[in-house]
């Protein structure tokens, strides 16, 4: 499928030099909610320090090894789009394509990315019906989208040289949890550099870095359009961003007014996990069912009068409390 050339339409590229996942997600969400895309499309590119990002209706504990993330200082974030859990580090690049709803087309965006990478680095990337980018049978990118009344974004990761061992370790949550949350679909995953070293591509190249990819994708994206949007003078203040000669906005600091502290809260990251239950083994022949809603313990075996009810869900605390009470009952 040929990429569409947007004759007569303008584009804006924003490169974020901020690497905090909460701030980048806030920036992305703010752009969606506050700009109208009837006259221009927008591409936001950002990278994050190590973090796990789950989809809007996922169960945090089911998707993420929460204890390991906490121990390793890996942030957990919940995005407003759907799809499954992904791992970001500075070996990954995120692309967020904004447009009005009629122009929303993840397939076109992924075709553009795939062609751009293949042409520049002689790779054999391709995209599939699930909106994954892949090399051979391994996935190098996952996608998700968010639609609102007057706009949309499609965003995707691109694993360039990410720590794949960390990725697989952190994305192993508690699969015994029972509920209606959207589950991730496990897929064999690789990065561009890892794929290179296994010679599964046409011709290996040396210089594939996030920085080079960002520069090249920016240039190719702008070439699809009639012209870049003119400078947005004083958009967020000189201490937050600058515009380059070709009107690309470089964000050095996400303005305070954009940062949504609610999206860094327990209520959002954990509490938006749809209602679920977990069975805790108390001894060899008895177990207790714990129901959790909005991230708080709602009932123990159907009863709301247990001392744990109302507390934040923490499996270790629950196990210890149940063991203590079981011991008392036995004695």
């Amino acid at each position: 499928m040929a990429a569409c050339v947007r004759q007569g339409k303008r584009a804006k590229v924003i490169l974020s030099n901020v690497t905090n996942v909460y701030k980048n997600l806030a920036l992305e969400h703010w752009i969606l909610n506050n700009w109208s895309f009837s006259k221009f499309d927008c591409l936001l590119i950002y990278q994050n320090e190590p973090c796990v990002v789950i989809g809007r209706f996922q169960n945090t504990w089911r998707e993420v090894n929460v204890n390991r993330a906490e121990m390793e200082g890996v942030s957990i974030a919940r995005r407003v789009s759907g799809g499954g859990a992904v791992y970001h580090d500075l070996g990954n690049v995120n692309f967020s394509f904004f447009s009005d709803k009629p122009s929303h087309c993840p397939t076109r965006n992924l075709h553009f990315l795939s062609q751009t990478l293949n042409d520049r680095y002689q790779l054999l990337t391709d995209h599939n019906k699930r909106h994954d980018l892949h090399i051979g049978d391994k996935k190098i990118s996952g996608s998700a989208s968010r639609l609102i009344r007057r706009g949309s974004f499609h965003h995707c990761t691109l694993l360039v040289n990410s720590d794949l061992a960390a990725l697989s370790g952190l994305l192993q949550g508690d699969i015994t949890l029972k509920g209606t949350a959207t589950a991730s679909v496990p897929s064999p995953t690789t990065s561009l550099l890892a794929a290179l070293s296994r010679d599964v591509i046409a011709r290996p190249r040396d210089v594939i870095t996030p920085h080079d990819i960002v520069d090249h994708v920016t240039e190719e994206y702008l070439s699809l359009y009639f012209e870049s949007m003119p400078a947005m003078v004083d958009l967020w203040g000189e201490d937050c961003c600058q515009e380059t000669e070709n009107n690309v906005i470089i964000v050095e600091k996400v303005p305070d007014k954009i940062i949504d502290h609610h999206h860094q809260s327990y209520e959002w990251i954990f509490g938006k996990s749809p209602k679920f239950s977990k069975r805790f083994e108390v001894d060899d022949d008895s177990s207790v069912s714990v129901t959790v809603d909005k991230g708080l313990i709602k009932a123990i075996d159907g009863s709301e009068s247990n001392e744990l009810v109302g507390l934040r869900y923490d499996p270790d605390t629950i196990s210890r409390s149940l063991a203590r009470h079981h011991k008392k009952d036995v004695l």
């Binding site: 989809g55 809007r56 209706f57 407003v80 789009s81 759907g82 929303h104 993840p106 909106h131 998700a144 989208s145 968010r146 639609l147 609102i148 009344r149 949309s152 209606t180 949350a181 959207t182 749809p274």
Partner: protein, 145 residues
Amino acid sequence: MALRLGSRICLRQLYNAQRRCLSMYYTESHEWVKVDGDKFRIGITDHAQAALGDVVFVELPELDTELDAGEEIGTVESVKAVGDVGCPLGGIVQAVNEQLLDKPGIVNSSPEDEGWIAELELTDSSALEDLMDKDAYEKFLADGA
């Protein structure tokens, strides 16, 4: 002048009262609303479910939530995207379709009947006159909505 203004207000009230007794109405963002006296039900249209693809999760509103016309009442996740559901009229949530929690696919198989999302007590019907009836909605779709 005052008499003519009074007549216009009367006619508008009559028009809205008639609309409240009739059936389905549609929004440009592809929600439907079925009004029944002082209650109404909402959901997404067949066009919306087809565009979204397989629905995998529906976030329902809390009971007793009060909404103005146009406010977001729920969210739907499909295999393709997460999208908002707007509330076409002003109301207070009285019931939600809990079937959708375990079987979100009902929104695909029966979007304008069993796939209803919420039922509300009508508090503000003024937006009703801006909604489309079935013929107008079908023309809206044919014109490339």
